[in-house]
């Protein structure tokens, strides 16, 4: 494939926190319109990788490209145009807790579009409807369940219709049914809107459901990458353990 078919590229990226090397010269590419899952045990740098992709943290070494634009050299004030093209669903949902769910979704529309107030509210309602929260516009995030908060955060992340969506642990803290609902929402986005998904997860059944391609991080390195079937055949001990948990899950 040509480089321009890959909307995200990491080249030799390294990141440390204190003395701990979280990522060590990691390189991979994510194809446009694909669903890419990053797996690994806790503390292996999965969430760090996502945050690096929108410049929330900076690597010590290496280059990161989003849609052919290198973001590693950009100043803070140069990052917003890149970030408008990338939605981010946080593990904790990270909804603004002082404003209503609807206002959370309307927030990026107010900031970055020229829509009228009426259009913004209609659009925010539409986005909430897409995630099954059409009746929760006026509720505060604290009044929602964990799954509803995740869905509301997904609606906010999708408010600007970004072509890329980064998702951090979509099933963390959720029951299997709610987790499957979130997976289905992500799959629908990927198939209907051609949104490129990068999903960090521990949940192997979920990764198998969503991912066209899976990548396993271990101790700062990529130890396996491929389809779920290819990973099933891996001889690496850690990868095999992950695959067993697929069967168990």
């Amino acid at each position: 494939m040509k480089d321009n078919q890959f909307v995200i590229r990491l080249e030799q990226v390294s990141k440390s926190f204190g003395n701990k090397r979280v990522l060590d010269q990691v390189s991979f590419r994510v194809a446009r319109g694909s669903a890419f899952c990053i797996l690994g045990r806790s503390g292996t740098g999965k969430s760090v990788t996502l945050k690096l992709m929108i410049g929330l943290i900076r690597p010590e070494q290496g280059k990161i490209f989003i849609a052919d634009q290198e973001i590693t050299g950009l100043e803070s004030r140069e990052l917003p145009p890149v970030r408008k093209a990338v939605g981010f669903l946080f593990q904790s949902a990270a909804l603004f807790d002082s404003i209503s769910v609807g206002e959370n979704v309307a927030f990026p529309l107010r900031r970055h579009t020229n829509k009228s107030e009426k259009e913004i509210q209609e659009y925010a309602h539409k986005k909430l409807e897409q995630v099954g929260l059409e009746n929760e516009y006026d509720r505060l995030p604290a009044d929602l369940s964990g799954g509803m908060r995740k869905r509301a955060a997904l609606a906010r992340a999708l408010a600007l219709d970004p072509p890329i969506l980064l998702v951090d642990e979509p099933s963390a803290g959720l029951d299997p049914i709610t987790s499957a609902e979130i997976d289905n929402l992500l799959l629908r986005l990927n198939s209907e809107k051609d949104t490129t998904l990068v999903v960090v997860t521990h949940n192997i059944p979920s990764a198998r459901r969503i991912g066209d391609e899976l990548l396993v991080l271990h101790e700062g390195h990529i130890i396996a990458q491929g389809t779920a079937n290819e990973l099933d055949q891996s001889e690496h001990k850690v990868v095999r353990e992950f695959m067993r948990s697929i069967q168990a899950g």
């Binding site: 945050k51 929108i54 929330l56 803070s76 004030r77 990052l79 917003p80 145009p81 970030r83 408008k84 990338v86 939605g87 981010f88 946080f90 593990q91 904790s92 990270a94 909804l95 603004f96 807790d97 927030f107 990026p108 900031r111 970055h112 906010r156 992340a157």
Partner: protein, 261 residues
Amino acid sequence: MFEFISSQVVVGLAWAGEVSLFGLRAIREALRPPYEMRELIRQVYEVGWRSVPLITVAGFAVGIVMSMHSRSSLERFGAEAMIPTVLALSMVREIGPLVAALLVSGRVGAGIGAELGGMRVTEQIDALESLAVDSFKYLVVTRVMACVIVQPILTTVMSFTGIVGGYLAETVISGLSFRLYFDRAFSSMEFVDYIPATLKTMVFGFIIGTVSSYLGYNTKGGAEGVGRASTLSVVLTSILLIVTNVVLVKIIIFLFPEGLG
């Protein structure tokens, strides 16, 4: 022991340097468009308008107490007639600015430290950045500016309610008329008493906004970190306000010696 003290001094100086850079960044970003007017107005309301009840009640109480103390002192010299003048000058020059700043640092400083700290540990600041919003400009600059804008106004409210409180105490004790009280209160007051003392509170507002925003914005360590940011905001801003006040009073006396008269 010496090594411990010197290492703590170095840590303190490093912290002061970081806060100063943070404050300078806030000034620089405040001058650079786009301006977050909507959020600034919201913060002026939160920091200013919502502090008015506290400032009013406190000013009133301070005025009454000041009047009672002044009376007990001035009575000895047969100078009760000076009570309105003494009270008005002390409220406007010193008590109003400093007490208003300390009250705002308690209410607003703790609030900013806790709010930004909470947003940091729950990833809401990262979420703002991910939505292509400059979180520093949106959260920090607006709060610092709001503190700078409202502090002189709150100080004026505090001084005025203090003078009114003094009048109530006086009229109950001596039956002094409203008109005579205010004639005496403002007879010796000039703009040089009011303007420098009130404008110095913009510096107080800057200290409250900067220190509490710095502590909140850089919070680490979950709920414990948020609590620490909130408490430290009050403690450090209070100390800094008192120390800075000494320096500012000296500068005002140097620049406006006629205000001493």
